[in-house]
Symmetry: C2
Subunit: 533 residues, 2 copies
């Protein structure tokens, strides 16, 4: 979730503070944040938060720091705008003071001096940083790729600034490992433009393109291609509207005149003349494309022959939802193109060649692979060894691992025990892993509650025990109502047997689990409740 804490003496800064969307093992959770306990304990030392770019896995966690203390945030206009929009969704937060930063214009925070270096990524205004510290220069790449064809204000973003710092001598490099398993060089954003040029050129029916609303450059390219071909573009989905509006207001998105139309006006134009840009490339339940695929979108329904392009990767964990959405779209007569089989997406992260280029440009004494699962970090570490970084100066660190950086190199410090922060409805919840294990168990076996009402002194039953169950599976031959009656009878017997035992509750639990194991072949969760007067 990209929350790098950098400390020097009493000073602390953060580089990014993101969120993550939970996998199924965090049942019922809207978002996950880094475990901010450590940061909050020392928050009075926090001098500022430095933002590499505006993706949610880099800025989404900031609102949860803002409950504690006013923050100084250093970022460019686009992430600032995204943060301002985001904060509007939360209540009673402290204030952010925004420090506007610009590529190659260095600034100081505490004892650190930062040189923001522009990098190519799947969002505008992406930065890496060279950070001058009292013990040497540390380079943090942010998320990056090398894209010589893609121009920003007329010229391509090169690694020259990284090389400059490399020549001056860099103590340690922190570099993006997302694609460390992929050989070669990530294709250019321009290659995609070419695919779209062709696909739109051959267009015979409506084309829907699902992509991340934050991919402003790709959106702009598609709009210009459409314009050149005399076609119209409509936007679908809340974030598609808010992101493009922000980029347009900040004049970082050029929309060709008379290209943009409203979704409700689609039918005024011939099918082979309209392109719809929309959200839902990850099959997010409320997204425009999912609602369309389920035929419950208020303005749009699929026509035979429509083409849907998923201009995105399948983010791990979403595969099933995405392929189910694709099946629904086919059932409605659409054709669906996606990355696995058509060149309709390129990654925003560099592959092995680019990671090597970065390592060779920066020539660091020490190396720390970041931004990836363990296998990506391990592969990236191998690459660093290939360019001559010595084994003991490479550290693969996971969440909570403290890394001590000195002039001589890296040493592992204490490892903090971290729990991910779980958020429901914008509120922080206290939910350690074991709670989610408990929830998973509920879903696996169902639950049985047993209520026994007794006299506190004589232990006499004042009514027959009653049982309620939820989520229980029964064998085909079994009648659930009868099974529950049986269970209540069984519970009564068990109570008489153990009424006077100190551990009567536990005994009842065990007896009931045994009973259900016999009856339904597995043990549900059983919770006895004893009322007494």
């Amino acid at each position: 979730m990209n929350c790098l804490v950098v400390e020097w003496g009493e000073e602390m800064i953060l580089i990014d503070c993101g969120i993550q969307f939970p996998d199924a093992s965090y049942s019922g959770v809207d978002l996950l944040t880094p475990d901010l306990a450590y940061v909050k304990r020392r928050i009075r030392h926090l001098k500022g938060v430095i933002i590499t770019h505006g993706h949610d896995d880099h800025i989404g966690g900031i609102p949860f720091l803002l409950r504690e203390k006013n923050l100084d945030v250093y970022c460019t206009p686009f992430p600032e705008g995204l943060l301002r929009n985001k904060l509007a969704e939360y209540s009673d937060l402290k204030e952010i003071t925004y420090h506007r930063i610009e590529p190659r214009v260095s600034f100081e925070v505490g004892s650190f001096r930062f040189d923001p270096i522009p990098v190519a990524h799947s969002i505008i205004e992406a930065l890496g940083f060279a950070m001058e510290t009292p013990i040497g220069t540390i380079v943090h790449t942010g998320d990056f790729k090398h894209d010589p064809k893609e121009l920003v204000n007329g010229k391509a973003l090169s690694f020259a600034p990284f090389a400059e710092w490399g020549d001056k001598g860099v103590l340690c490099l922190f570099s993006d490992s997302t694609n460390a398993e992929r050989m070669g060089h990530t294709p250019s954003e321009l290659d995609i433009a070419t695919s779209f040029e062709r696909l739109l050129g051959e267009q015979t029916a409506r084309i829907f393109i699902a992509l991340f609303a934050s991919n402003i450059k790709r959106i702009e390219k598609i709009m210009h291609i459409a314009h050149r071909q005399g076609k119209k573009v409509a936007l679908g989905g809340r974030s598609m509207h808010s992101y493009t509006k922000l980029a347009f207001d900040q004049s970082s998105l050029g929309i060709p005149p008379e290209t943009l139309i409203l979704l409700e006006d689609l039918d005024r134009y011939p099918d082979n003349q309209v392109i719809i840009l929309l959200t839902g490339s990850q099959a997010e339940p409320q997204s425009a494309l999912v609602r369309i695929s389920q035929d419950n979108h208020k303005e749009v329904e699929i026509k035979n022959g429509d083409t849907i392009i998923l201009s995105s990767r399948f983010i791990p964990g979403n595969e099933r939802a995405i392929t189910q959405m694709i099946d629904h779209l086919y059932r409605q007569g659409a054709d669906v193109l996606y990355e696995s089989f058509h060149q309709v997406h390129v990654s925003g992260h560099g592959c092995q060649d680019e990671l090597m280029m970065m390592l060779e440009a920066v020539k660091p004494k020490c190396f720390v692979p970041i931004h990836g699962e363990y296998r990506h970090l391990a592969k990236h570490a191998k690459l660093a060894r290939r360019v001559g970084v010595s084994e003991e100066q490479i550290k693969i660190i996971e969440d909570g691992q403290i890394l001590e950086v000195s002039k001589d190199g890296l040493a592992l410090g204490e490892k903090l025990e971290l729990e991910k922060g779980v958020v429901v409805d914008g509120l922080f919840m206290a939910g350690g892993r074991e709670l989610f294990t408990q929830r998973a168990a509920l879903a696996k076996a169902g639950i049985v509650f047993l209520a026994v009402f007794k006299n506190a002194r004589s232990h006499k039953l004042l009514a027959d025990p009653i049982i309620a169950t939820h989520g229980l599976l029964y064998q085909r031959e079994i009648n659930p109502a009868e099974a529950v009656l049986e269970a209540e009878k069984k519970a009564k017997e068990a109570y008489f047997k153990y009424a006077k035992e100190p551990d009567v509750v536990e005994r009842l639990r065990i007896e009931m689990r045994r009973f259900f194991k016999k009856r339904v072949s597995y043990k549900p969760i059983v919770i006895p409740m004893i009322l007494e007067v």
Copy 2:
């Protein structure tokens, strides 16, 4: 799950009867079977089950038919052996009469005459069938690819037999759609052998190869490569032992002398001389490789430098488990190679070129794509149109759809409402979709039980209500115990308010949900229980 019911008058036959491993939406379920209700209602008409090959998604469902009636099963030796092993795991089943079949030796079942046609697939003895029926010939490909390099008893399996039937005239083709989205031609099993030849040749440490135990040919090739290089092979995992033993006993697996060693003897040989073939390519929880990756396998632990090869695809739904296993293996110092980045697996299913070849060989009047998700069937249907099958003679059918085949072509009949059969511990459970929705809700929101004890006539409370909860998330600031006390107080008030209402239970439920929504920001499942005397 490959259970094709074919009926003619009063006769019924089945082609395959498989199982499927449930995704997370079937919480707590071990396996899924086809909904066999329709078949069971008419089981006295069942003349036989014809097996294309021994994969579980083709034979795994047969034990669940065997509760009803003795069955006649038509298959080759390998699937027969697998079935016999499988049935040993179930109790009180009826009998199977096995009818041994051979490639190109035709046999009759009821009014149907079958010509078994050998096909290349990722398991030995795979068959397609030409089925002569009273109204014309129907061709069923089974699972197939076209693999001209791979020899079976000295010669490659060609599509010639399919072409013969095509020349005689085929009414309808049912063909495998698994890879209908993939362009080109599936690589040969021999190409994999070449990769392994190289990988084993360069071996510097132990090599673990995880693959399906049913892929006997691949296992045999690896053993021979190891033998030629003077190396030893050990087997890990229950099914790896049982499948190879069966194939060896049936002399369809040649094991080179002195190649096989026991897992516990690994350390007697130099690391660069041992290969371990094991289960777990899908990160099945109890599999050898998963236990090794978690460092709780009794004989094997990972050494620095070990190479693990996943010679399999990531089956959709397993991606997360597999990548987590890979991360664990890296943490222990292993390197992991898998399909996405290394040529260590080829599919057993044909890509678009091969599907076109089959269509052109059979030249069917009608076409039904089978074996795939809807998107695969839709793509396959497009291919059939390309080779000239007319639009109205192509039907995409989903589970439960009755298809009426006549001399003139295809017509859609009634669509049966099917539920998948859910199996826990080898027992059929009555679990419709809504039950699993209920279980998912449990995991999402947790559950609250409320017990109220009252006088049946006066409605007076005989004790304070008590509440038990499970799987509830609380905000960081909240003390759960206090929240429950509050809830009990709230419940008492609510009871007094509604005691005399007929819908008091529902009222209590709503009040409690409101309370928790306020308290913890989401509504748990609430189940009030009223005891009365």
